[in-house]
Symmetry: C2
Subunit: 228 residues, 2 copies
DNA sequence: CGTCAGCTTGACTCATCTCAACTAGGGTGG
DNA sequence: CCACCCTAGTTGAGATGAGTCAAGCTGACG
């Protein structure tokens, strides 16, 4: 994808981009800059001045906070079509880095604000996108509050499957580019517990584990575990 | 507070209301309706059509989701000045009810949208408020991801103290209108563990427990526990 | 005065954490 | 080509923190 290529972008139909009429893409293209990040590269750091907004176009991004004692909490994973960079204070509230190779569309904050204000319906759209952003952490809260490791892992897999499904991927064969440690930091579990729980689910024929991917064999069983 | 009384409202200076110029209050008053709710009264239910937005003006509100198996997750507590009712789909994503006596300002969704669109700077303000709403669940996620009960409870107390402080209340003597069960459902703990943990903190002279309130005696100690 | 909700505390259980050993695959350098 | 190292993952054994079950306390209320 180069400038002038929004129409052919694979995430054209999802997220913020879907809100733009074809006639408005020109504007967007004029201010969007293509960025890419190699494995483990930092996209932005917690506390940095939030001078840009991003839309993920390929790969998986890990959003996290570091605590004073060195522990890491993963706030969420961002997939293609997801928006990043809404901040209250002008500073990022969390850090973001690439899991594997990541591509993103980046716009400067002032440029983005100008785009949003240039068309009367866009502030409204931005508000909708923000509200969607709001829904993700709420689901996460419910998952974290759940009692058992099995329930948490099941909810993580179902949630990931549905998000991938909405992007046009399979809801059954899930790429899992993040490590067991990442999943653990996301679910509030240790990496050993994540590994054991996945193994247990595999032994019960609910899933099948492959390197860096998982296949859902018995979705009903997983849904039953999420109790939601 | 009656119509025409926004200027004298005690939350005039915080949240959404602070974004309105004095000259704009007339508009707001014209469409805002005063509502009050007795202890345990439902303000809205998860899944209901979200036909109104609320600003809490007094008391404490409990936001929660019920799971299929009957467990309850408290998403958060809303204090005076907090906004409620941002939804993606037109349906509330969680339920809300009153803890003790609650007063709120309510506006119909279309009326509220009309107000927001009537002045050019208001969509922007609404976006800011939404972004603030976004920050609350993120803090909650970090607290839930913490390992020990003591850390969770300490983070809960510090967070509550700061929010009350911003409202002009004491950061030391905290009213605690919610029950131990509420706190447990918020932190992902049982009510017994919450009680034991508070007792332990009191025994260490970090806090002092009174019926329906807590006094922070050693804030530094609590902050150290939150590791953040 | 009895009842009930909210809270506290104790004893015991058990799920998860911790520590540790081991396997597999990839990359590097001699 | 092989020896070595490193990362990611798996599995086991034992420790422990939080859950469960139960008893009892207190204050409010009818």
């Amino acid at each position: 994808m180069r400038h002038g290529q929004c129409l052919g972008c694979r995430i054209r139909g999802v997220g913020v981009c879907a809100a733009l009429a074809p006639s408005e893409l020109g504007l967007r293209e004029a201010l969007a800059e293509k960025a890419s990040f190699h494995d483990r590269k930092t996209i932005f750091l917690q506390g940095d001045a939030a001078d840009a907004v991003h839309v993920v176009t390929g790969g998986t991004v890990r959003l996290y906070r570091l605590l004073a004692d060195g522990r890491r909490h993963i706030i969420g994973f961002r997939l293609p079509g997801d928006f990043m960079g809404l901040v209250l204070s002008g500073h990022y509230a969390f850090s973001a880095d690439a899991i594997g190779f990541v591509t993103a569309c980046r716009a400067s904050r002032p440029g983005f604000a100008a785009l949003v204000n240039s068309k009367p319906h866009l502030p409204r759209c931005l508000h909708d996108v923000t509200t969607h952003e709001l829904a993700l952490p709420q689901d996460h809260i419910v998952v974290l509050g759940r009692r058992t490791a099995k329930e948490k892992v099941a909810a993580f897999l179902i949630g990931l499957a549905d998000r991938l499904g909405r992007l046009g991927h399979s809801r059954v064969a899930l790429p899992l580019p993040m490590t067991r440690l990442d999943i653990g930091d996301y679910l509030g579990l240790t990496l050993e517990t994540v590994s054991r729980t996945l193994s247990k689910l595999a032994r019960e024929n609910a899933i099948s584990i492959m390197p860096y991917s998982v296949t859902i064999l018995d979705r009903a069983r997983l849904e039953e575990l999420t109790a939601n």
